[in-house]
Subunit: 413 residues, 2 copies
């Protein structure tokens, strides 16, 4: 794309808003040098963002140093909110977030989507959301983000396949859009993609532009950051590393193939390695195995080591393919990490090329089970961050946010 | 990055030059609408590029249609050249290219780097290059690109590891820089990365921004395009998909690991599957197997099918991970493609998720054995494309390019 003046103005607003949203408060002089613009232009851009209730400016209290007092620009976390929704295999969550990624409040409830099917699951989620948001919230919500354990077509939010939910071609985006009655943009993303996004923007991969998020769920979800952006692929389905072939003569996977990585790792694999048949509450059984392994019980230790070894084997392929700066373990793997760190590295040293792994860090995620909820909030903020002029401007006389109109502008990309 | 006016001017020049370099001739009105700038500004930008001998403008011959005659902007392929060098396992090549990717001439010679070691190999390459370029070429060369079958640290062009060359930590970039005596920028890249770049920019993946190039050599090289850019990873070593684990209990790989993808595909694997011990000329043996397989000879067919099946198995992992729009088979795999297309798809249908493969195309490469040489030329042009002001401007009175200074400005990124 070329650059004309209208687009440049919008891009500069976007740059500033994204910077204070992701990095935190910035002094005007920081912004001046980052953008290579003069102080007057920066001042004008900041005032435009202020007039849309997106940022606020504070004069720094005197530091005792000479020179002009500096202004610090920070997000207003109260004026514009997003609603984040999430569907996992055994729970669902709703959350409300302000600019800067600040959680207003969230709620998680148990669910059984495989039992009740997609229509009832989505109805439960929408019911929980409607109960969760107040009339005051409603007026401030500028976008909705939804995370789901499945392959999502980003353009319309259809879940093409959720192997562990039993879903095929579920129009989740459209159902949320019509069911919520909010006149705002709704975006849907894959659970692990959104977990990876959250860990990259504010969590364990923060500041590392090439990162792999590997989340242990029933199976294994992957969210991959390339040059600071989620890897989408040609049609938005990238990141399905749980279905990498690691053991071609191995076990049958829920996807229909044989020897997928997730047949050897993830909750199901851990239970199987421990000789436990999944009963009514597999997550409780997983917890018991983790506790027993931590206290040295041999069968539990062996099961954990089986998963750790295969985690390292499969990871080697993607360390060689992506040369990431960090691998973040989420979900079950985040909890496993202290138990399997050694064995994972043993396999990486055996199988990943030195150049590809020598500066690699492996870390547990910051957000645990809520990673995708935080990521869904980021997804929901994205249209506003890309074009801050979507937020309505108010006149200089109106101090509050009461006069704002809703934004219903952005097409889901 | 923010946007100031100096950078915007440079970015607009870069946009136009890159467009005519990659896409081909553009009318002024195309550029006007692409850039969203007015005709006067476009005219001024084009004149700046003309003054640097980068483009030339032609008035289109009257089409009989009403309206102003349109000006067409095209690259000048004669004024600025790049030198491309390449080191494979059994040959090396030199080439001279003009803007627009046009080949001036190239030469490939047999070599045996494993036999003679890195110093002698590089000395041979430099000797061939010095013999190849004339004094007239020398004055017009603005950059050098080098492709090599190994893991390259992009910042300084050190080959960290060339498993199939037997190289470790060879300062190829510095040796080419000092040995050529050209006061220009030298960039080094991985063979398969550069092959992928060439096939993306002008070959079988042209116009498809998410693509995987899989090249059959002694082993398997990968070059991955994400959103129109080569995947580099945190330190430039990404794309080593030949060392993905596909068969953990399989064969020992040249990298030291067990069961790497390239142990089951590539020339060595094909020879082994055919029961042939690599003698003095493995490439001739490979050709014999391909011919025998094409004519239905059972052992040769079985060997080709073995490679095809494992090609499909390993590829499934990366189709799931990257959701590419196209997979391009280069090198040996380009020649195998007609023989193994069915079997590759059979494995993909078994192992890759429907959503990840349903819009996928698989194609043989356009450039065959020369793909990396074409890619090295693109690597060499990159600094100039990113900042066309690196080419010296001449006064309007000087029509030729004789007055140009050399550019020695750009640090290797």
């Amino acid at each position: 794309m070329g650059l004309n003046s209208e687009r440049i103005g919008r891009d500069n607003l976007s740059f500033i808003l994204r910077r204070v949203h992701v990095v935190g408060p910035q002094s005007r002089s920081d912004l001046t040098s980052l953008l290579g613009l003069n102080r007057t232009t920066i001042g004008s851009l900041v005032r435009q963002l202020e007039s849309r209730s997106l940022v606020e400016e504070q004069q720094m209290s005197s530091s005792g140093l000479p020179g002009r007092p500096s202004h610090v620009v920070r997000v207003r976390s109260d004026a514009h909110l997003v609603l984040a929704l999430e569907i996992q295999v055994d729970s669902m969550a709703v959350g409300l977030f302000g600019l800067g990624g600040s959680l207003v409040r969230s709620r998680r409830i148990a669910s059984d989507p495989r039992e009740v099917g997609p229509d009832e699951t989505i109805a439960q989620l929408l019911g929980a959301a409607r109960e969760f948001i107040t009339d005051d919230d409603r007026d401030r919500i500028v976008g909705v983000g939804v995370g789901v354990v499945g392959l999502v077509r980003s353009v319309d939010g259809v879940v093409r396949l959720g192997p562990n939910l039993g879903w095929t071609d579920v129009p989740l985006g459209a159902m949320v859009r019509s069911g919520l009655g909010l006149d705002v943009n709704v975006r849907v993303g894959n659970e692990a993609d959104l977990g990876g996004l959250a860990e990259y923007l504010r969590g364990a991969a923060r500041g590392i532009d090439d990162a792999i998020y590997v989340s242990g769920e029933v199976g294994l979800g992957g969210g991959i950051i390339v040059k600071g952006q989620l890897l989408a692929g040609a049609h938005g389905f990238a990141g399905e590393i749980g279905h990498a072939v690691v053991n071609p003569t191995g076990m049958r996977c829920a996807c229909g193939a044989t020897g997928c990585w997730e047949t050897e790792v993830g909750e199901q694999a851990l239970l199987r390695a421990a000789g436990i048949t999944a009963d009514g509450n597999p997550r409780r059984a997983v917890n018991q195995i983790l506790e027993a392994a931590a206290s040295g019980q041999p069968v539990a230790r062996a099961a954990v080591e089986h998963v750790g070894r295969w985690l390292g084997i499969g990871l080697s392929s993607f360390v060689n393919a992506f040369n990431p700066g960090v691998v973040v373990f989420g979900g079950l793997f985040g909890r496993l990490e202290p138990l399997v760190e050694g064995i994972v590295w043993e396999e990486l040293e055996r199988r990943a090329l030195l150049a590809c792994r020598e500066n690699l860090a492996i870390r547990p995620g910051r957000y645990g089970i809520d990673a995708a909820l935080y990521g869904a909030a980021e997804l929901a903020f994205e249209p506003l961050l890309a074009d801050p002029t979507l937020a309505p401007a108010r006149g200089p006389q109106s101090a509050g946010s009461s006069g704002r109109r809703k934004t219903s502008v952005v097409a889901n990309r």
